[in-house]
């Protein structure tokens, strides 16, 4: 629809003419009386509800009157104001973790703190984000990135902290940033930051969780004490150290960077090795198949878990009945899990169990009872006999594996 506001002269004429038969239908807005006073026709406000009573909706949500249609040309998507730094007075460097190429909340909090540092006092600083390897995220501008240095090469897909540390040293020598921020995480930021600190001979502030004017508060003694210390050049920050950027857009303009020479590191990545899913502690497992009272065939349950490569979990009933060991129990009385995908088979969803899976991303319920709490919570609920559904699921997964194998086999034969 066009953004232009179009006048309807006839409607305006009718609105002016109080004796016109259509006048009542068109005028609902304020009318100025002959004395210049504002007159409101209260009979025309609101609508008659289903029970015959007049309802006035002031939220504007269901405003489908003429007023609404007249102003319908307003933009639907909110465009945030652009924060521009044309000539940065100084730089704040942030090295992003980018787990699987995307910003996570820790990265966003780090960028939020970097923007705080760039805009404090008189401001004028620019936040330079450094991304290694593949970058799939396109929301960097909304996360507070003024400049971006993207270093992408084949070898950055692997774990090569020594090379990254070398690259960072080159960038830092060139930009001379006021502060360097890294997420103090186990996804690489903590490791890289400490390597960089040792190489630059800078004493980092680790575990920073709050910035006051010229001091930072850090968690020390493995989380038992708070240390207030002066702001240092290198900061390894914790999650929720600052609010992420949400009200401005940033330039996110690409800075060119002369590639630093590749060096032969002392570490060589040999790739991840496959781990037994049941050896992963339940609390940190990414994919859990959990069984409850509704399971009759436990042999099949174990088989399904091994085919899917899922860690096994259980509800309290299953544990009490002796079908699963106690350390597999999920819920408030067992383990609080954080899985990416949680499949609950035959679990109706006691409140203790629902608390335990509160942090799971995607929940799948397989249950015969359509009205149980687990089905209400689940993203996908399969209603039916769990034995049949699991059997079919195993078949499908095995088919898929076979197809993949034949494709891979064909490719290697050629």
């Amino acid at each position: 629809m066009s953004e232009l506001f179009r006048r309807d002269p006839r409607a305006q004429w009718i609105a002016r003419n109080r004796l016109h038969p259509l006048h009542q239908a068109l005028v609902i807005g304020p009318v100025f009386g002959p004395s210049g006073l504002l007159r409101k026709n209260l009979h025309l406000i609101g609508f008659i509800g289903p029970n015959g009573l007049k309802r006035i909706d002031r939220s504007g949500a269901s405003n489908n009157s003429e007023q609404g249609s007249r102003r319908s040309a307003t933009a639907s998507e909110v465009i945030l104001p652009l924060h521009q730094v044309v000539e940065p007075a100084f730089y704040i460097v942030v090295v992003l973790d980018l787990v699987s190429g995307r910003l996570n909340s820790h990265d966003k909090d780090t960028l939020g703190l970097a923007q705080q540092l760039a805009n404090r006092n008189s401001g004028g600083g620019a936040v330079v984000a450094i991304a290694f390897g593949e970058l799939k995220d396109d929301s960097l501008d909304k996360a507070g990135v003024d400049r971006l240095i993207h270093i992408n090469d084949e070898q950055y897909a692997d774990y090569n902290p020594e090379q990254r540390c070398n690259d960072l040293q080159g960038i830092i020598a060139e930009l001379e940033p006021q502060h360097i921020l890294l997420p103090d995480s186990i996804n690489g930021g903590g490791d890289l930051g400490r390597r960089l600190a040792a190489a630059l001979q800078q004493r980092p502030a680790c575990g920073v969780w709050k910035l006051n004017d010229d001091t930072v508060i850090c968690r020390g003694s493995a989380g038992k004490r708070d240390i207030t210390r002066p702001l240092s050049k290198l900061l390894l920050v914790m999650e929720e150290c600052s609010e992420p950027i949400s009200e401005t857009r940033h330039e996110n303009s690409l800075m060119s960077q002369a590639p630093s020479p590749l060096t032969n590191g002392k570490l060589l990545d040999q790739g991840n090795i496959s781990v037994d899913p049941n050896a992963i502690p339940l609390a940190e497992a990414g994919f859990i198949l959990s069984g409850g009272n509704g399971i009759n065939d436990w042999e099949q349950f174990h088989h399904t878990a091994s085919v899917l490569g899922a860690t096994e979990g259980a509800s309290r009933v299953a544990v009490d009945d002796g079908n699963m060991p106690r350390e597999r129990q999920v819920g408030a009385t067992g383990t609080w899990v954080t899985a990416q995908v949680y499949i609950a088979v035959g679990i109706s969803g006691a409140i203790q169990h629902m608390q335990g899976i509160g942090q799971c991303d995607k929940v799948v319920a397989i249950n015969t009872d359509e009205g149980c709490d687990m089905v209400k919570r689940a993203d996908i609920s399969a209603i039916g006999d769990s034995t049949e559904i699991l059997a079919r699921l195993v078949e499908l997964v095995e088919q898929r594996k076979q197809i993949k194998q034949t494709i891979n086999g064909g490719a290697t034969n050629e």
């Binding site: 600190a197 980092p204 240390i227 570490l267 991840n272 399969a382 898929r400």
Partner: protein, 263 residues
């Protein structure tokens, strides 16, 4: 494993129980010793920089490492608040070591986790962080294969050039129990380590950690009606999909697993 001519040193610190604040063996350091014993058995050397206090409870913390079956702990004497990195680096420069094992971070003091990195930088060694195991050591090619612990229970295999420093993660094998008899019989071999005072940290304010404030859900609504709605509206069910029938259900679950990249 037969690594008789391999020289492995593990660095130990004093631990502190998170709740009772009692001194104890540091959990990660104990795992490092366990790993060291697995590698070289009795040839494992253990090093501690600090002071041997007359306080019996402090001594028990250090002695509980001896109780794991070590004959002695080499003690580099220095004041408790001095900088341990330079003392240890000075000592290690005179030694020929192949592998140095530490914890990821101390349970006391700043616990920045910088010590292994600084040592690696000063000694020119490779540094591997948070390892779970050392798989094999190839003494001919001067290389070792180590297993690094990653989030979500994943493991990464790395090849490292000898000599190297490794910090041992909580994912490593559980340490053996400390026995009282060997702990009392074990010896401390004390040498003077020197004092490098850490001047920077003297003006830090250190208090007991307070619980961090929970992040508030900030609602950035422009109108009062939106704010009201955000405050009162129930979290909607998120539109969970309900599927009936065996074939459809299995297919829907498979699609989800593929979408999440688990299969």
């Amino acid at each position: 494993m037969s690594n008789n001519n391999l020289s492995v040193i593990s660095l130990v610190s004093l631990g502190e129980h998170p709740t009772s604040r009692r001194p104890r063996r540091a959990e990660q350091d104990a795992r490092a010793i366990e790993l060291g014993i697995k590698l070289v058995g009795d040839n494992l050397q253990t090093l501690h920089a600090g002071e041997l206090s007359d306080d019996a409870s402090q001594q028990t913390a250090l002695r509980s490492y001896l109780g794991m079956g070590l004959a002695e702990i080499k003690l580099l004497e220095m004041p408790a608040d001095a900088d341990a990195v330079l003392v240890i680096a000075d000592y290690l420069k005179q030694q020929k070591t192949d592998i140095i094992l530490t914890g990821v971070r101390a349970e006391n003091g700043e616990s920045s986790g910088m010590l292994p990195y600084l040592l690696a930088e000063q000694l020119g060694m490779a540094m591997v962080t948070s390892i779970a195991d050392i798989l094999s050591i190839d003494e001919v090619n001067k290389q070792a294969e180590v297993l690094q612990a990653l989030p979500r229970g994943q493991r990464r295999k790395l090849k490292v050039d000898l000599p190297f420093i490794a910090s041992v993660d909580m994912a490593a094998a559980l340490p053996r129990q400390s026995a009282f008899g060997p702990a009392m019989r074990g010896q401390f071999e004390t040498t003077l380590g020197g004092t490098f005072t850490d001047e920077e940290s003297s003006d830090w304010q250190i208090v007991d950690a307070k619980k961090r404030p929970k992040r508030l859900k900030i609602i950035k609504a422009k109108t009062a009606a939106d704010r009201f709605k955000a405050a009162t509206a129930k979290a909607s069910g998120g539109g969970g999909k309900v599927v009936y029938g065996v074939e459809e259900s299995a297919q829907a679950i498979l699609d989800l697993l593929i979408e999440e990249g688990l299969i």
